[in-house]
């Protein structure tokens, strides 16, 4: 299936960024994450490939600062998709390499011409260790 041009260009931009980036489609399904994100998520994109929203949103076992699991609809990417507004928060994940990491995430919706919702992109950083 042909991707929307804006999504193609977003992936190409992400592939050049030193900042970890994660891109999802309008349903929240994972389309791409870049090399810097691989370090934090603990797995290469070439190995995981595209994933359904319900898969990636639980795969990394996101929790809040107190260790309580975060439901998928409280993750910034899915909030940005749902509200069509940027979303920002900090949380903790367990990478596929087993390492626990503190992430600071900003997600923004990708809206094309005529209001077409194309997906969302998250940029994230590693926060202070817990």
């Amino acid at each position: 299936m042909q991707r929307e041009l804006e999504i193609i260009l977003t992936r190409q931009l992400a592939s050049y960024l030193a900042t970890p980036a994660f891109i999802v489609d309008p349903e929240g399904n994972l389309l791409f994450y870049n090399d810097p994100a691989e370090t934090l998520l603990g797995h290469r994109f070439d190995e995981t490939g595209e994933m359904l929203a319900r898969e990636w949103s639980t795969l990394f076992s996101p929790t809040d600062a107190n260790g309580a699991p975060l439901p998928p609809d409280e993750l910034p990417l899915l909030i940005a998709l749902r509200t069509r507004h940027p979303s920002h928060r900090e949380f903790w994940i367990t990478g596929l390499d087993g390492a626990r990491r503190h992430l600071v995430v900003t997600a923004l919706p990708l809206v094309g011409q005529a209001g077409r919702v194309l997906g969302a992109m998250a940029l994230f950083w590693e926060g202070e260790a817990q």
Binding site: M1, Q2, R3, E4, L5, E6, I8, L9, R11, Q12, L13, S15, Y16, G112, Q113, A114, R116
Partner: protein
């Protein structure tokens, strides 16, 4: 479906004996169905000669603009059907989030750049912002998609009688791509060109030129062949020739391209006056 090239040059008209073979007019392509319905792709300076061949009995012409850079609209004011009362002229082009197509076209078709305003044309003019997806125009099915080029730009796939033409005159599918072009829907314009019978594709630059012009919205010869290969196009016409490529240079570059890339489909440089029957 017949496809005629009336203008093959990119960026700037380059008339003169040194460009007589491939042509000096900027881009304009005629697509004619078996029932004589006419589509015109882009309105570069080649559209002037094209317009003079449209019979007075024709009642409707559709002009499909890929984008509004000057080399694609410069001939519009000299397109004869615009001055025929009762002629139905439909102009289609890419939408913009900021301004309507009619308003953007009006910037050129108004003083001081041009003496005749769009609203003063005697024809029955309708301006359409081309929808994403299919639209039916007479016997043609026209599919438009945004493609990689600065500013709102679309490519077209035109189907009639079971044959497909893909028109991507200004296209940089390799922007930001470090290795081979990506597959599985990740290359701009890919769905428009998939299994097409004739692919008219940007091939303005040599590799050396491209290194200085990344992001300007154009392809190299080799990327055009690679794009044709991954989309399984059956024939490639390299198009939008650089003003610096005279006939001798262009012929040499094409020979080198074919020797180097060994394309799996016929490849040629578009020549003004050339006609393809699909």
């Amino acid at each position: 479906m017949k496809v005629a090239l009336w203008g093959t040059r990119g960026s700037l008209p380059t008339p003169g004996p040194e460009t007589a073979r491939y042509g000096g007019n900027t881009v304009a392509v005629e697509v004619r169905a078996d029932d004589n319905s006419v589509l015109v792709l882009d309105a570069g300076t080649g559209i002037r000669n094209l317009g003079r061949t449209i019979p007075g009995t024709t009642r409707r012409v559709d002009v499909l603009l890929s984008h509004l850079h000057m080399d694609h609209i410069q001939g519009l004011g000299f397109f004869a059907p615009l001055y025929v009362p009762d002629m139905e002229v439909h102009i289609w082009g890419p939408p913009s989030p900021a301004e309507s197509l009619r308003s953007r076209l009006g910037r050129y078709m108004s003083p001081p750049l041009f003496p005749v305003r769009l609203r003063d044309l005697p024809c029955r003019l309708t301006v359409h912002e081309v929808p994403v997806g299919d639209v039916r125009i007479g016997p043609f099915t026209v599919d438009a998609s945004l493609v990689c080029h600065p500013g709102p730009t679309v490519g077209y796939r035109i189907t009639a009688g079971g044959r497909a033409l893909t028109y991507l005159p200004d296209h940089e599918p390799a922007l930001g791509v470090r290795g081979p072009l990506l597959r599985d829907g990740w290359t701009s314009g890919g769905s428009l060109a998939e299994d097409t019978d004739l692919l008219i594709h940007d091939g303005q630059y040599t590799d050396a030129q491209y290194e200085e012009r990344v992001g300007w919205g154009h392809s190299t010869f080799d990327r055009a062949v690679e794009f044709a290969r991954i989309t399984r196009a059956r024939k490639l016409v390299v198009f939008h020739h650089d003003p610096d490529h005279d006939d001798v240079t262009l012929a040499r570059l094409m020979n080198e391209l074919v020797a180097r890339s060994r394309p799996s489909m016929p490849v040629s440089a578009g020549r003004e006056g050339e006609v393809f029957t699909l």
